[in-house]
């Protein structure tokens, strides 16, 4: 059977969804390396706020539950980057020379 072998990318997407649903809500809320050093040494004071906000800090404004908000915005991101990359790949792929 050829068909099931091709479905590996669905498994890859499922793993990505699982990471968002199971692991992202458990993520450490401590500052990351750059922020920590920026706080400690002072250069983080230079930070400017964003010009606009759509899903700021991986949250959907108006969704009260932070876990649901994180998961939902994460799933939007996973779907979007997947579709963007597949679309870009199709645009850029090498055209195979026509076979006689």
């Amino acid at each position: 059977m050829e068909q099931p072998k091709r479905r590996w990318w669905l498994a890859g997407l499922a793993i990505s969804v699982l990471v968002v649903v199971v692991l992202a809500p458990l993520a450490s809320s401590d500052p990351d390396g750059l922020e920590r050093v920026g706080e400690d040494t002072g250069f983080l004071d230079r930070a400017a706020g964003p010009l606009f906000e759509i899903l700021p800090d991986y949250s959907i404004q108006g969704l009260a539950d932070p876990t649901v908000s994180t998961i939902a915005s994460g799933l939007i991101g996973v779907a979007l980057v997947f579709l963007l990359m597949v679309g870009l790949g199709r645009l850029l792929r090498r055209r195979r020379p026509p076979r006689a």
């Binding site: 992202a24 906000e53 870009l88």
Partner: protein, 237 residues
């Protein structure tokens, strides 16, 4: 979506602000990095256009999805500091340096535009530091290590681990250099701090990279061939 007023410096304390915001790096440095990244992206498009096989396209999508998801998961390091995956070496081992560069650029751009994770003026620098440094520099280290230790088949996973750690260190050095060029800090202040923290974060990067490649090796090792289906691309200099 309801837009709210940006709250400036307070945002830095939030858990999901991960990438460099605007303002850290000076405007000339940010523009300079946009130029560098622009050239790299143009090269990436050209090479991908020549060598990307149809069958590798779904893997580009999956890598973007996985790296986006994994970057949301900050892991604790020590003393109230966390780190997260970059994923450039992982993507390059599977897709080759140029397609992987496009994947990283896509992820970091969506994070900036949609999630306000990382600034827009500094986006060129962020794509370079977190993407191209790994997909080009880290990948070059990976190839060299594979050559040194008996070929890719044998050395793939440990070589990727070491290269992933190096990529995090190089990325940390790159943003430090940009901060120094911006006059934001002093070399003896920023370099030991950035490299020290990222030496530990890099261990997480190496562990996730090796685990992901180990999982693929155990389940679908044929995916490792997708990278070279369209003809092997010259490794970046």
């Amino acid at each position: 979506m309801i837009a709210s007023i940006a709250t400036g410096g307070q945002r830095a304390a939030d858990g999901f602000t991960l990438h460099a915001p605007d303002g850290l790096v000076s405007v000339p440095v940010a523009i300079g990095m946009w130029l560098v990244t622009g050239v790299i992206l143009a090269l990436a498009v050209r090479h991908t256009n020549r060598t990307l096989d149809d069958r590798a396209i779904p893997l580009m999508g999956v890598m973007a999805a996985f790296i986006f998801a994994a970057q949301m998961v900050n892991f604790p390091i020590f003393g109230g500091t966390s780190g997260h995956l970059l994923g450039g070496v992982l993507a390059a081992v599977l897709l080759g340096p140029w397609a992987a560069t496009l994947v990283m650029a896509c992820v970091v751009t969506v994070q900036a535009l949609l999630f306000q994770d990382g600034g827009l003026l500094v986006l060129g620098a962020n794509i370079f530091n977190m993407g191209a440094v790994g997909t080009l520099g880290g990948y070059a280290i990976y190839r060299a290590l594979c050559r040194l230790f008996g070929g890719e088949q044998k050395a793939r996973i440990p070589a990727a681990g070491v290269a992933a750690w190096c990529a995090v260190m190089l990325g940390a050095a790159a943003i430090s250099a940009q901060l120094l060029a911006s006059g934001a800090t002093e070399p003896f202040v920023v370099l030991p701090a950035m490299l020290g923290v990222h030496a530990l974060i890099g261990i997480g990067e190496a562990a996730i990279t090796m685990a992901a490649l180990g999982f693929i090796a155990a389940t679908r090792s044929d995916l490792f061939q997708l990278r070279d289906l369209g003809g092997r691309d010259a490794a970046p200099a």
